[in-house]
């Protein structure tokens, strides 16, 4: 790539990130606003941060959200990847069936899925809590992993696999030493996506959480009757700062270890 296109690339990406982060900065800004309403700025305060640390409900629901999101992304990474790999081994008819089935969770509107899963799980007598949350979240996260991994699998040169087989590799060996390493980047990005989607889900979680397992988004939505407080903005700011810190630190460590 030459210099001008490099410069354009940097410009475009920077502009994109600025726009991407402006609404987020709005959220951050209003965590310091005296007034609890977003309608006006009435002065700087740190009170919401103090209140946040005294609010066990928010902290607890945040912990539950993280727990659910981590388990969900692991489960959907395993299931999604397995399905994608399996689908390359089956007959093409079966492959189409799998595709069709995997798109189902994306097709059914969340409310419909939530209400029906509620009835379904209560018939099975499953206790509503982390289990039902993870099961239901992985349903709508798994297709994303499947899709991203499949996209990459399709591009793998068949001749590599054929020659590996000629050299006597078993199917498991082919999967372990050729396929998995090749699809790992897709697994990582799509599990990050799954993580974010699980962290953000509110409709299905409303029906799937039990009395002791309110997730953060459910907490925020059910606050609306009484009013969403800027404590939530404060928490979001801390999440952002924390993640930035971790990302920055890992970059720094990477650099050092490279030297």
């Amino acid at each position: 790539m030459n210099k001008t296109s490099n410069r354009f690339r940097t410009f475009y990406l920077s502009l994109f990130f600025v726009i991407l982060y402006i609404p987020v900065l709005g959220v951050v800004l209003y965590s310091f606003n005296k007034s609890p309403s977003t309608a006006s700025w009435t002065g700087f305060t740190l009170d919401w941060y103090r209140d946040l640390f005294n609010d066990k409900v928010i902290i607890e629901s945040f912990k539950i959200s993280i727990k659910v999101a981590l388990l969900t992304s692991i489960l959907s990474a395993i299931l999604g990847t397995t399905t994608a790999i399996i689908s390359t081994y089956v007959t093409s008819k079966m492959e189409n069936v799998i595709r069709g089935v995997m798109i189902l969770p994306l097709l059914v509107p969340e409310v419909a899925l939530g209400v029906s899963l509620l009835l379904f799980f209560s018939t099975l007598n499953l206790p509503f809590g982390i289990l039902t949350l993870v099961l239901s979240h992985s349903l709508f996260c798994m297709p994303y992993v499947y899709l991203m991994v499949l996209l990459r699998l399709k591009e793998i040169d068949i001749s590599i696999i054929e020659s590996a087989k000629d050299l006597g590799a078993t199917r498991w060996q082919v999967i372990k030493t050729i396929l998995l390493p090749l699809v790992t980047p897709s697994i990582i990005t799509s599990s990050l996506l799954a993580l974010a989607m699980s962290l953000d889900d509110v409709v299905i979680s409303t029906y799937m959480s039990g009395p002791t397992s309110t997730t953060l988004p459910v907490h925020i939505f059910s606050m609306m009757r009484v009013g969403v407080t800027p404590k939530i903005n404060a928490l979001s700011t801390l999440i952002l700062v924390g993640t930035f810190f971790i990302v920055g630190l890992s970059q720094l460590l990477n650099k050092k270890s490279n030297q």
Partner: protein, 353 residues
């Protein structure tokens, strides 16, 4: 095939791992109750005080609507002890047998309640529920801004139809509320089913469209605070918040009448912890506790004995503590379910116009 088995086994293993993880959280029989309602509707402070005094743990399931509570109570009645729902939902839950009668012997504080809010259509002999929080909805107006637009002062719903108010109103986003507003403007009741009256209301409603700049159920007061609207039809707790942020905003109780909502505690039909649940209910009915709840949540207090514990500015706030005169003009939405489908359809048509 062996390799396939490996894949299957690893999948099963991961699934069972999740199952066992979840099972850990279940725990054995404990001294606890499960409550369900909107977040912060029962303030945390109150719950903590109860937990400290009695040693009973309170699990608080947070939901965003009455209908969600209905679905959850229907699907797993044994997971919940108590819920706080709005009047019409008490009616539905009672008629569907999702809730059970309260044991008043265990509620000595029951007599503290204000009879004005009792004996309502949804529970005529007060067996299934008792009022926890009272609210109304009315107009919050910015009189200066109305004048600037050249419109007449707003004192009734009818005034909302003035041409000068073009794109200057914010209203609650629910068919029942908006149809109710129009019906009251025309001098009818909330649950009119007569097709002629409904058609008349529909025409009147459609004339309002141009004046509405936003439908908002959760933070309508913001629109008055940031100046994008000059008047709003909103719930009392929102109007209280709006006025607290800008004292130029004034409540207007429309002369045609306005809706009132009674949120009450109900007991799930299969509540597992009956005794503890009643203990909690009795605690809620204690005068000082009840007063503190009203203060923290900005809802009108239905507890006579609690009145002396309410702070002065709460008592003097006409929105939080409306006079009997004002309240006599308020009414509940009765039997809306019979007309809901029709109203919803008109409302959709109205929005898509």
């Amino acid at each position: 095939m062996k390799k396939n088995l490996k894949i299957i086994i690893s999948m099963l293993l991961s699934a069972s791992l999740i199952f066992s993880l979840a099972a850990c959280g279940k725990g054995e029989e404990a001294k606890e109750i499960n409550i369900m309602t909107w977040a912060d509707f029962i303030p945390r402070e109150i719950i903590e005080q109860f937990e400290e005094e009695t040693g009973i743990k309170v699990n608080y399931k947070e939901v965003a609507s009455n209908e969600d509570m209905q679905s959850l109570l229907e699907a797993s009645p044994d997971q919940y002890d108590l819920a706080v729902v709005t009047d019409y939902m008490v009616d539905i839950l009672r008629r569907n047998e999702n809730i059970q009668k309260l044991d008043k012997d265990k509620l000595p504080n029951f007599s503290n309640l204000n009879p004005v809010y009792q004996g309502q259509y949804y529970d005529e002999s007060d067996e299934y529920s008792f009022p926890y929080a009272i609210s109304t909805s009315f107009l919050l107006v910015n009189p200066e801004a109305v004048e600037e637009l050249g419109a007449n002062p707003i004192t009734s719903y009818e005034d909302l139809w003035q041409e000068e108010l073009d794109k200057n109103l914010v209203v609650i986003d629910w068919s029942v509320e908006i149809m109710g507003l129009v019906l009251k403007t025309l001098g009818y009741e909330y649950n009119e089913t007569d097709p002629e009256i409904v058609a008349q209301a529909k025409d009147k409603l459609f004339e309002l469209k141009d004046n509405i700049m936003r439908f908002e159920t959760n933070t309508p007061e913001d629109s008055l605070l940031n100046g994008e609207a000059v008047a709003g039809f909103m719930y009392s707790n929102q109007a209280v918040k709006g006025q607290a942020a800008n004292d130029k905003l004034e409540p207007v109780f429309p002369t045609e009448g306005f809706p009132m909502y009674i949120d009450g505690f109900v007991l799930s039909s299969e509540a597992p912890n009956l005794d503890y649940a009643h203990e909690f209910l009795n605690f809620i009915l204690e005068p000082e506790i009840s007063a503190k709840i009203s203060e923290l949540t900005s809802f009108t207090n239905p507890n006579v004995a609690a009145q002396e514990f309410l702070p002065e500015d709460f008592k003097n706030n006409i929105m939080l503590n409306p006079t009997d005169d004002i309240i006599s003009n308020a009414s509940l939405y009765i039997d809306v379910d019979a007309v809901l489908e029709e109203y919803e359809h008109i409302y959709s048509e109205f929005k898509m116009k």
